[in-house]
Amino acid sequence: MMLNLAPNIANPDDFYAELINSQRNLDEEQALRMNARLILLLANHIGDRKVLTEAIACARAAGG
């Protein structure tokens, strides 16, 4: 499998709002801690090491 970079989320505006709203009452540290948990949860769900490596590289490169 390759990292899917095509749109893959139904109702993108809903998703984005949910993500942002989930951190509404958190301070910066709490939000960063939550992000860390979220990354780990999602990474485990994906599982595929090649895809994870691609995603890490893609996120690391400025502008993707």
């Binding site: 960063l32 801690r33 860390a36 948990r37 990354i39 780990l40 949860l41 485990n44």
Partner: protein
Amino acid sequence: MTNYIYPKFGYLRSKEQADGIVKRHPIVVIGAGPIGLTAALDCAARGQPVVVLDDNDTVSIGSRAVCYAKRPLEIWDRLGCATPMVDRGVSWKVGKVFFHDQLSYQFDLLPESDHQWPAMINLQQYHLEEILVAKCRANPLIDLRWKHRLISLKQAADYAKLAVETPDGIFTMEAQWVIACDGANSDTRKMVGAEFTGQFFQDRFLIADVVMKADFPTERWFWFDPPFHPGQSVLLHRQADNIWRIDFQLGWEADPDEEKQPERVIPRIRAMLGDGAQFALEWVSIYQFACRRIDNFRQGRVLFAGDAAHQVSPFGARGANTGVQDIDNLAWKLAMVLRGEAPVALLDSYHEERAYAADDNILNSTRATDFITPKTKVSRYFRDAVLELAQHHAFARPLVNSGRLSVPTPYLTSALNTPDVDLAVGEMRPGTNAADAPISIAGKPSWFLHCLGNGFTVVTFGKATEKTVIEIGPLAARILRVGRDIEDSSGLLAARYGASPGTTYLFRPDQYVAARWTGFDEAKIIEAMLRATGQDSAGQKELAA
């Protein structure tokens, strides 16, 4: 503050120093720590006389190694000293990791039963060294010389010249081969000008040995950010004689001299054990840890082993454990070279195989240290996230890293291996250390590893041969036929080796798999034996002549 009485081994003036005659010895070992002592025992076990020089006259001082793993115990068993170590120490296999005051992860080191030795024992390094020293003293091939400090070493083409300082002054001796086991600050390493590079970790640890009667189980307990030591980690281990090892992470800002003072240490322990706890301090030291390795384990006639060759942070108990395996790898090769049974080039495979293992250990120790001491704020958030999630979700538990405990590194890419050709089953690939299994010999129960280790051994399942030995030039391999020489009544040996009738393994003298086949073929075994002793086709002709 210690209750332990350090033995004094006593200096003796050697005959060669008294006579003023320069003697050339086949093997001189520098340093009588756990690795130098093991080196002496293994060289002697392979028939070589050894001189050991140590600048001190007692065992390791203070709080150092505690945990010894199954593979070193197997090696020490081959050398006749595992039983007293296991009897003196405490065996364990369960580790628990806590985050705050909650259990977040638990592991069991040896879920497979039917192994002779426990997954781990805990024993103070001084007790371990006492057992090794006693064994060395009882061996007529070993000459232990205390209060002998190596002060210079010069190499010639086929020997090294050593200047040694004793209470009687300085004298010169020569060695065909030197095994340098003089620890992390190795003088020998500086004398040969070798590089020793790596990484220092920006953190300090208080290592306390505490005498107490406590009802903690015999398990490894590791806390991240516990209420009694907020923001840092703590490790608890049981040792022999009701002594417990407690490691407190202190952070980089801690002042090592102040933190060592009992008035600082005692409240930390009291916070952990509760106000009513009865305990006494046995030893306290402060460490900064590092992971470093020498550029080449072989520097001409000098072979480096143990901490002199590699240093690791102790999370994973990999220091002495891997040093013992250096010796296991080196001694048979050196003995064969000295007997003229293998070319000197075989010793380059010592570097190849053990540097590969050292890199694996350093990788594991560095990863554990990075987990325990996150380098940035955000990496700390990730670390804490793993610990939080691990309390509730199985997926995060394998990510928790409080030290991956020492297991042998297989030499999967070694030039000494004969790669699998035909369909091979099971995990025992060439370059892997032999798995143990219960067997019996003439109806008497024993262990498979007891049958290996004296030179090369061929183990074959079924009735493919009537022979008992295979020889080529000076090389020989004993043949053990399962069903004739040893019985596998439980079937565990066949299961662990993926064996069916005809399956044949060639084991090296260090109990590693050199090659395996689905049938017994003498020509192939000979070829594999030559390869495992570093002989090319020119070497083969030389041997045959």
